[in-house]
């Protein structure tokens, strides 16, 4: 990707992200107290738009995060699927999460396991 294309992409992502954020925050200016109180009792997505669409929107972060985790764990160069140190690292992270380890510990567990595996088995 050229420098100009990269800058254009960065600006596009920034503008798009700001629009997504500001729409909800700014449009709700002047809402009633009643709406304010209900908002505290339901989660973000259903407060904005109830129904099937809201369910889909509320599942979007879950699906996207799961997809990202999976792709970043097994995707290699040029669209190949590879099983390497990252898979064991994710296992370590999952174990840390099962023990309710804090966020930083989960990241560290994955990094340390990946680093050890790579030091022991070259090419992973």
């Amino acid at each position: 990707m050229s420098g100009a294309a990269l800058w254009a992409a960065v600006v596009a992502l920034a503008i798009g992200t700001y629009l997504l954020r500001s729409l909800g925050v700014v449009v709700t200016a002047g809402r009633s107290r009643e709406a304010e109180e209900t908002a505290g009792e339901v989660d973000g997505a259903s407060a904005a738009a109830p129904g099937r669409v809201a369910t889909l929107v509320s599942l979007l972060p879950v699906v996207l995060l799961a997809a990202l985790v999976a792709v970043q764990t097994v995707a290699g160069e040029g669209g190949r699927l590879v099983v390497d140190a990252r898979v064991l690292a994710m296992g370590a992270a999952a174990v840390a999460l099962a023990f309710r380890a804090p966020f930083l510990v989960v990241m560290l567990a994955a990094a340390v396991v990946a680093a050890i595996v790579r030091a022991c088995v070259p090419g992973t």
Partner: protein
């Protein structure tokens, strides 16, 4: 300092620290993916959304197109629309439109979670601003350290930093998959994304995987609402 602010600051500082460490790894990974230092720093300032920035840099690093990088990032940030609406409602009438225009940039998972956990609108405002600003400073300071000193850390792969990133996403995911509906959607999304990897350009598998949200409609949301609010970090 006003004790109300102190309470919220105490909750926000460890989050800010964790985010700054992720910021360091973002900076160093961006540079190793071929994104220039100045682009990475400006990106953290203007986009201020870790997940989408990692996705963006990941697509660039794998040789994907600019459009694929932007779309992957924006899809990941689509959740800010409902988050923003919920936060805007908690703000109430006391918050002017001009304040909201600034506040919008600080809408992130952490500020949303802490603000929406407050029962009182005033407390929600304080929690939102405190968390948002602390995380903003941490993320951008971390990015700057990462792009300039990240190289001194050595190869991010040898340090396992590339595995720390999906691990951080997994840690964000874990509290959100307590209901059967969410778990089913997550599994479907992961499988669909992996299945797409060999057939479509980098960045597209994650976008295609959003179709997996429909799988969730077939499952019940078997979790009480109260527990779900608590689960939303």
């Amino acid at each position: 300092m006003n004790p109300r602010y102190r309470t919220h600051l105490r909750a926000a500082l460890p989050i800010g620290f964790a985010v700054s460490v992720i910021g360091v790894s973002f900076g160093s990974l961006a540079v190793s993916a071929g994104v220039p230092a100045d682009v990475a720093v400006v990106m953290s300032l203007l986009t201020f959304a870790g997940g989408s920035q990692f996705a963006f840099v990941g697509v660039v690093g794998q040789g994907g197109s600019a459009i694929a990088a932007v779309v992957a990032g924006l899809l990941l940030n689509a959740r800010y629309l409902p988050f923003g609406a919920a936060i805007g409602q908690r703000f109430g009438r006391g918050t002017s439109t001009s304040t909201r225009v600034v506040a919008a940039h600080l809408v992130i998972d952490e500020s949303a979670a802490l603000a929406l956990a407050q029962r009182d609108g005033g407390e929600a405002r304080i929690a939102f601003w405190t968390t948002g600003l602390v995380v903003f400073v941490g993320w951008n300071a971390g990015t700057i350290v990462g792009v300039f000193a990240g190289g001194a850390l050595g190869d991010p792969r040898a340090l396992g930093l590339d595995a720390a990133l999906p691990a951080s996403l997994l840690a964000m995911l874990a509290p959100q998959i307590r209901s059967r509906r969410a778990r089913a959607s997550a599994v479907a999304g992961a499988l669909l994304a992996v299945a797409l990897v060999p057939f479509v350009p980098a960045g597209v598998p994650v976008i295609g995987a959003t179709a997996a949200a429909f799988v969730g409609l077939a499952f019940s949301d078997d979790l009480p609402r109260a527990a779900r609010v608590g689960a939303d970090r």
